[in-house]
């Protein structure tokens, strides 16, 4: 094995030797440099493999003396791992920078090589002064690399950088020399043993050392210089600084922390959290891509710093957490900066240029999701473990702050992603992409997935996870260039096979899960069927759609909280991409994502607290929680309620559902929302028996009732058909929340029955209306009218859908109302119950508006020749209608087994079944009988009337009213716009967009805050130097007080 010290030999030797190379032979020099970095990398990789296979950590002595008398280096698993990371980054970064380096000449190539070498040494060295020297090497090399691509800005940034790091280095040197004075040694390990923090002067010396290293990690707010560097230097260099330098310096902090006392852990935590939140807050206001990445990079390092500060809590989990987040940041940030170099446009709105090369867009999305911590990437596991450990140790404030910071990060990252996906790119110039610029990000993109896979292998709770769906999605992605109908078929077949495998066992064992699985998978297959109506490739649709379904399937099959959360996040990611596909979906996709992230964090915190209480991830262990019940229940409920779009958390839904594509709306409405219901149901059956949760349930009940009322009222005042249906979904989910919150047998049964029904009729309505919209080209109902003549299939589907939805007998909706009445009376929630029932009646307003405005009334001239809806939409719709008919005529087929299942948890006040007759605690209901009675009556009356009027003459609509004289402007005769004006006058105040206004105000405040705080970064390098010194002083005074 080659001694690791030869990393220095190779690095410096080659750098020196490059002086011989002819100045013109730049290709040769660049190749030599890459070979040298490759060799350095080979050494570290060789050591990494050896150490992983159990080799001992080695100390490398110099000068023939043992430490502490001479400088020594160390090569342990940490060092091997990190040097490998750095050398890989160096190799790929060097490759990426090939043109720039060659342009700048041999000297620049030398500087780059020495830079990488220096990073290796600061990782390996165990001597404080040697550390200082090589940190200087790195910082001078950095200053040189900043001006690799020389612009006015980069020179300024370089000067600011030198000024700040100069002060930092001076302080570090002072600290080191005094540490030497007090301990008589320069070796870090001996310094740690000497424990000089007990001395008054010694503690100051330690402070100076540690603060300077913290400052090198760019803590907020003393980091203006670093941000300028990220923004102004060549993106390839920024990538190196963010990935390689930051990684190395982080390890330095880790190493040097040994000399500190435990007070420092608090300081680190505070400094880290401040940075994490501060930078991410300022990122919100930032529109320049590279500076934004700088904020994100600084923020991530802050998080890592805080994690280090939490070492006493995290214990032996520290390494796993820090490594996963560090590696994620390393891969993602390098990748993003590299992409920034390819895009060559610093305005994040112009990143839509990535769409010229879809692979780049995929990479971009991947890296952003890595940063946020989505599965299956390493950071997901790291954040999960971090939260679990924090909550186990009752560090709730830190936990909350970490989640807050991550959320702020999500705001700007997803806004950016939205721009990249949705903004116009036709006007932007072509990307010029060299092979050497594309290889590094692609490689890192692949590595992220590989790293994610290996990380998941380290997590025992995920050992049962089935990776086949994910592989299937990857496969679908690779055939993305095929026509849509092929992919559609493959997707349907795949889902059918999966459903065939998981549904039967669930039917046997777990009726609740079976119902949801059937909705998710069956609904998925049906909605995908509609996809045949789309021509062309439909690039990117199938992977994300399947991702959502895979996430949903994981949720169903999850047995522990980690699996559940894994599925939940996958589902969120998939649905986000589905939603944002819509033409005007950019803002809605963003708000969906933000609510989802916030909700996911609430869930995460809830799971963390439950883990703290029970010590296990098992989902059923939720039932055994004895402490913090209120908080856990509330957090989880809020998390799930972001998906069910309860009042206050609903503002994302209307836009997201309305602007989505025609077959996506049913996916995200009829199917996706049930994930939240499933979560709430799990929560209630496990935790509903406590007195505390019953109190929350009471609040949730009112919330559900209000949601139903507001949702329905708002739906009644919509002019946009899909928006109307979206508000209707909010209201329906309000009923479900209300029913669930009752936490009684009938409540749960109602909720389940409503879920099934909502799935059926909302899928019908969204599919049909979506198909109609595809034909007529507008969402606005007042622009349609009279379509019954052209679209009888659609009309019948909508008619049945609205009858089912409204709860009018004999269709299935009535069963829901009946159950609801009984449940309300049995529970005693009369007033909120009345509110729910009242809002159920309001539903008639919008249902009538929907069917009347679209299909009835006067026909518009421009729509005289539209065709009926696509057969591919009609097929799933009519299958769903058959479902409605079955469930209406034979409700006992579903309700009886469900009731038996629910009786496990809530045996009281169950329904008694006698054939088709259900007898509840208050009333009785025979779905079957009503269906037959009404059916016979209806048919006979229809026949009778037909007999009497069979000679009726078909007349045109104008013939009677206007005596066959069409008015001048026929469109004015379709009374549809704002038809509930009177109602609006009386009740419109309820649906005044106060909640939207509330969130808008919140957003505005955050933006103003960010705007205010970022005045700190005035651009004056001197001011930044003052901040650096002030930071040190503040830390000192914090320490002594």
């Amino acid at each position: 094995m080659i001694s690791p010290i030869h990393i220095i030999t190779i690095g410096l030797g080659v750098a020196f030797a490059l002086g011989f190379v002819n100045k013109k032979a730049k290709n040769f020099s660049a190749t030599i440099m890459l070979v040298a970095i490759g060799l350095m990398g080979a050494i570290s990789v060789a050591w990494l493999t050896a150490l992983l296979q159990g080799a001992e950590t080695v100390q490398i002595f110099t000068a023939g003396f043992k430490p502490p008398y001479s400088i020594n280096l160390m090569m342990g698993i940490h060092e091997a791992f990190l040097t490998t990371l750095i050398n890989v980054a160096g190799l790929l970064g060097g490759l990426y920078l090939l043109q720039s380096l060659k342009n700048a000449g041999n000297h620049a190539i030398m500087v780059f090589l020495v830079f990488i070498m220096g990073l290796n040494v600061i990782i390996m060295t165990r001597d404080a002064f040697n550390l200082f020297v090589f940190m200087e090497v790195v910082s001078i090399a950095t200053a040189g690399l900043i001006i690799l691509t020389e612009t006015g800005k980069s020179i300024q940034a370089g000067f600011k950088y030198m000024l700040a790091t100069g002060i930092i280095a001076g302080i570090l040197l002072l600290g080191i020399i005094f540490a030497y004075y007090f301990s008589g040694t320069l070796n870090i390990d001996s310094l740690a043993e000497a424990n000089i923090t007990t001395l008054k002067g010694g503690s100051v010396a330690v402070l100076m050392i540690l603060v300077s290293i913290i400052l090198e990690l760019k803590p907020f707010p003393a980091n203006g210089w670093a941000l300028d560097v990220y923004e102004a230097s060549n993106p390839g260099i920024s990538a190196m600084l963010s990935a390689a330098s930051a990684t190395a310096l982080y390890f330095v902090l880790f190493k040097v922390l040994a000399i500190a006392n435990e007070n420092w852990y608090h300081i680190l935590t505070v400094a880290g959290m401040l940075t994490f939140i501060g930078s991410n807050l300022l990122g919100i206001k930032q529109n320049k891509a590279r500076r934004l990445l700088g904020y994100s990079s600084v923020g991530q390092m802050g998080l890592l710093m805080a994690i280090l500060g939490l070492k006493p809590i995290l214990g032996d989990k520290l390494e796993f957490i820090a490594a996963t987040i560090l590696v994620s940041h390393y891969l993602a940030k390098a990748g993003l900066f590299w992409l920034a170099g390819i895009v060559e446009n610093d305005n994040i709105k112009n990143w839509s240029a990535l769409r010229r090369k879809p692979i780049l867009l995929v990479l971009f999305g991947t890296f952003l999701f890595v940063l946020i911590g989505f599965p299956p990437f390493p950071s997901f596991y790291g954040k999960w473990e971090l939260i679990m450990q924090l909550s186990s140790n009752q560090h709730y404030y830190v936990l909350a702050l970490i989640l807050l910071g991550s959320f702020l990060e999500g705001i700007y990252l997803f806004r950016w992603l939205g721009y990249a996906i949705k903004m116009d790119f036709e006007t932007l110039p072509e990307l010029n992409i060299n092979w050497n610029k594309i290889i590094p990000p692609v490689l890192f993109g692949v590595l992220v997935y590989v790293a994610g896979y290996f990380t998941s292998a380290l997590v025992p709770e995920l050992s049962a996870l089935n990776y086949i769906p994910l592989l299937f999605i990857a496969g679908i992605y690779f055939i993305d260039s095929l026509p849509a109908y092929i992919k559609n078929t493959v997707a349907i077949i795949g889902m059918s096979i999966y459903g065939y495998q998981i549904l039967p066992p669930l039917y046997e064992n777990d009726m609740l899960r079976f119902i949801f699985a059937a909705i998710f998978i069956g609904g998925g297959i049906l909605t995908l069927t509609a996809g045949y109506a789309y021509k062309g490739k439909r690039s990117g649709f199938y992977p994300v759609a399947l991702l959502m379904y895979a996430g949903l399937a994981y949720i169903i099959q999850a047995t522990n909280t980690l699996e559940f959360f894994f599925g939940w996040e996958l589902m969120t990611a998939g649905s986000y991409f589905l939603i944002i596909r819509g033409k005007k979906s950019m803002p809605h996709g963003l708000s969906y994502m933000l609510f989802s992230i916030a909700g996911a964090y609430a869930i995460l915190a809830g799971f963390g607290l439950s883990f703290a209480g029970t010590g296990t991830y098992n989902l059923s262990s939720l039932a055994g929680i004895s402490s913090n019940i209120t908080i856990i229940f509330s957090l989880l409920a809020i998390g799930f309620m972001t998906k069910t779009a309860s009042l206050g958390l609903h503002i994302w839904l209307p836009g997201a559902h309305a602007e989505a594509e025609s077959d996506v709306s049913p996916m995200v409405s009829a199917i996706l929302l049930k994930a939240g219901v499933f979560g709430l149901l799990l929560l209630i059956i496990n935790m509903g028996h406590n007195t505390e949760t019953a109190q929350i349930g009471y609040i949730l009940g009112w919330l559900g009732a209000l949601t139903a009322l507001v949702g329905n009222l708002a739906a009644a005042f919509q002019e946009d058909a899909k928006r109307l249906l979206a508000y209707s979904s909010i209201a329906q989910l309000g009923y479900i929340l209300f029913a669930l919150a009752m936490m009684s047998h009938l409540g749960l049964l109602t909720a389940m029955y409503y879920s099934i029904n909502h799935f059926l009729y909302k899928a019908i309505l969204f599919l049909t209306i979506g198909a109609v919209v595809m034909r007529v080209g507008t969402h606005m109902m007042y622009k349609m009218g009279g379509l019954i003549k052209n679209m009888p299939l659609a009309f019948i589907a909508v008619l049945i859908g609205i009858i089912a939805l409204s709860g009018v007998p004999p269709l299935s909706g009535f069963g829901g109302k009946w159950l609801l009445y009984n449940a309300i009376l049995a529970k005693g929630w009369y007033l909120q119950g009345a509110m729910v029932l009242f809002s159920g009646i309001i539903a008639f307003l919008y249902l009538f508006k929907l069917i009347y405005s679209v299909f009835l009334g006067q026909m518009k001239d421009n729509l005289r020749h539209v065709k009926d809806i696509s057969i591919w939409f009609a097929i799933p719709v009519y299958i769903l209608i058959i479902g409605i008919m079955i469930i209406s005529a034979k409700p006992e087929w579903v309700l009886q087994p469900l009731g038996d299942m629910i009786s496990q948890w809530y045996p009281n006040a169950a329904l008694a079944w006698n054939g088709g007759l259900a007898t509840g605690p208050y009333g009785y209901w025979n779905g079957n009988g009503i269906m037959i009675t009404v059916g016979i009556m209806f048919v006979s009356l229809a026949t009778w009337l037909w007999m009497m009027s069979r000679k009726a003459v078909q007349v045109k609509q104008f013939n009677i009213v206007y005596s066959a004289e069409a008015p001048q402007r026929p469109e004015t005769t379709h009374i549809s716009y704002n038809i509930y004006a009177g109602y609006n006058k009386a009740l419109g105040w309820i649906v005044a967009p106060k909640i939207t206004a509330f969130w808008d105000t919140m957003t505005e405040w955050i933006h103003s805050l960010a705007q205010y705080v970022r005045q700190l970064y005035s651009g004056n390098g001197q001011l930044y130097a003052i901040y650096v010194l002030a930071y040190i002083v503040v830390v000192y005074f914090t320490m002594i007080f």
């Binding site: 030797g13 020196f16 000068a63 003396f65 400088i71 020495v114 040189g144």
Partner: protein, 229 residues
Amino acid sequence: MKNIFTLMILVAFGIMIYPLVNSFKGNDKLPELGNYYAQPENVTKVNSANLVTAVVVTYRGLDTLGEVSILFLTAAIIAFFLKKQTGKHEVRENSEIFTTAAKVLFPLMIILGVYIFMNGHLTPGGGFQGGAVIASAVILMLLAFPEVPVNQKLLSYMESISGIVFVGLAALGALIGFGYLDNAILPLGTFGKFLSAGAVPIIYSFVGLKVGAELSNILVEFKSVQSNE
């Protein structure tokens, strides 16, 4: 107003470093590390009369390597940073006395520099000081003969050769000695004599050459900017 704020910070910083000054009691005897280096058996192991040189070249040789690379980096960065500045030379006549003196002094200064770094293990001074003297000689020539182009290639070769030798000797220590930068790869010689201390004089000489070349390079780069307007 801003200065008052800055002053407050500075005063606070002063308060912060006051404990350092306050707890400084001077040294009554050598600290542990220095004491170890001064022990006769350890002195003879390195066999360099100048203990500072011993520390600089062997015990803390890696620092020196880093330091050399810093100068190297500085030279390289300044080279590519300022390289686009070459242009017309603005010739200025120097007095004859000055130019003659420079001609005479230049070889003497070079010899002095070489002497300083070659005796670094015996007398005060060493690679850095010697290198600095060489660089001063170069400055002298630059001032005296601003129009004469400097052979930067030579400087650069000198720099590279000495760098490679330094690194090579260091690596040789790891290969055949007891560790990187072990000076015992060459015979230690007699204490206090010119040929002593193993590889120390050689290493220090090359450090001197390298530092001299690098400093000269930096100066030449600045000068070339200078003369271009």
